[in-house]
Amino acid sequence: MSYRASVGSQGYRFADLREVLARASPARSGDALAGIAAQSAAERMAARLVLADLPLRRFLDAALIPYEIDEVTRLIVDSHDAAAFAPVAALTVGEFREWLLDEATGEAKLAALAPGITPEMAAAVSKLMRNQDLIAVARKCRVVTAFRDTIGLPGRLAVRLQPNHPTDDASGIAASMLDGLMYGVGDAVIGINPASDSLPALASLWRMLDELIGRFAIPTQSCVLTHVSSQIRAIEAGLPVDLVFQSIAGTEAANAGFGINLALLREAREAALSLKRGTVGDNVMYFETGQGSALSANAHHGVDQQTCEARAYAVARHFKPLLVNTVVGFIGPEYLYDGKQIIRAGLEDHFCGKLLGLPMGCDICYTNHAEADQDDIDNLLVLLGTAGVNFIMGVPGGDDIMLNYQSTSFHDQLFVRQALGLQRAPEFAAWLASMGLIDGAGHLLPASPDHRLLADLRRRLS
């Protein structure tokens, strides 16, 4: 069937559902690169008019990527919860937007709805929403997960401590970790992106993190962000693996480009669960995503990058992760050209993820070849803080010297906590208070030159 609408005196026709979604998407360079973006502002609005009148059910009848050739589609279709979908089953996409914004739709209703929503439905309705809508609905969603601390509680924001070093130098990493802890950072995870992919080098990173967390009884979890197969090998080798990380995408072919499939993720999760290292919960997975990953692997099947991204959340959802991180500005200007596109994408991803029931965080970031700067980071940080994002990154000075991009800093998280009144994960906040690093209100205390953490590190270095 085809889809038609008129804008002004011009009529527009769209061949299929994929085309409607792609043309309706807010402008971004990745969809233009794929040749699927609207050719004019009027065409974009025609697609949105079509989309607004589409029954939500249509997305259950017409798979964007065929069931037979894509295991992500099969996962989405086979795991759909018709009973959860029932409250909105009779709505159009436009009516669904209004239902989401309605005062009568609160946290409990949204949580119950999540298993009934497919990624395509979430992406579709987001395309009819302004930034304020994406914030207003996302902040009504609550997704709480736990491992050694509890992440996603109301009024709280967690931060990943990201102490990367270009040669995985142990003392360089230790210095950045110390810096982060002294700034009250690390409740989401202490996660290192290693430069090396050799198991002996990775093993020393896992041990180093485990020793630090153990020595000071820090209520947090560690992660070494290497390929999932290496993490399975590490678990088999008896290494202290807390969270299993993997980059994921929204199509089977794009995941193949990452060297993964659903079976491998299942194996990894079971391996991590078998270690029983969580103390207050057993969410053991950490996923990263980002718009454009499917297109960059030439595996997008003509589906727009935002919808592909939402499909990645169906993959994530299946494995009950502790953290899902959309790395929004890392991929570069051929997918998200400037600060405006990055900000919009960050809000879309956070909204879609939360609607689908995921513990969404965001790596609010940019590269030096994108048209963006620190002001764009500040803007998205305040917007996502307001939207109730579960966690953000903490990079010393905002400058990741290993991955060569800019993200949120230890100082940035202090700012947004103060501006929006956001506290840390409760177990981690209690630990910081016990270490004399924050006061009862969560404010950073002046650090003493002979603080335990500092003295311990100096002793180890000497």
Partner: protein
Amino acid sequence: MSRPDPWQSLATLTAARIALGRAGNSLPTAAVLSFDVAHALARDAVHQVLDVDGLVARWREMGGAEPLVVHSQAIDRHTYLQRPDLGRCLDEASAAMLLAQHLPDAPDVAIVIADGLSATAVHENALPLLDALLPLLDGLRIAPPVIARQGRVALGDEVGAVLGARLVLVILGERPGLSSPDSLGAYLTFAPKIGRLDAERNCLSNIRPAGLTPAAASVKLAWLIRAALARQLTGIGLKDDSETPALSPVLKAER
């Protein structure tokens, strides 16, 4: 007015921006300015126009064969940044010019010098790298170098194929980091032809005085070039034999 962090001595352990101190919850002014200076240099590196005339003049002084100058289909930087596909193809005039070259013998190695994402890196490090590398390639037939404007790595596939080279070496500016606006990448592709995958290449990255020095990079590159020609491959197969971590195959999306 700002509060220093009492662990400043640790800052010698890493180039990361640690122990910055704070002004309220924000950064001291000096730290803000230092960050913004680094960003300004990186931004300018991305947008700086490749000084082709200067490169050609310096190349002649080094006594090299007359270079060939080409342009990709990305007409300007704005297009280049948004359309990587165009940066991988020669424009019509360049393709015709290269086709009209009649090299006496098929070269073993074609060399492409492209602006990539940092003309600064090319200006500062490309010729020192070649100056160190070429003597190490003694005995191999080297095509006249091709200087490419608005070029990406895969542009070398077309250049190498048109010149009939057994292997192409592409030297280009990498995506500049805040602390490395001058970082050069070098990519090797055996049997270049349009459509080669990134997994079929080998890459040396972070070539700059403060990283992998041009002299050190040239030794690694010369080893790789001879190994690739002998084994008739580049990519993952070449990595397995090398044991040198810096010689990693290109697995991520092209920068």
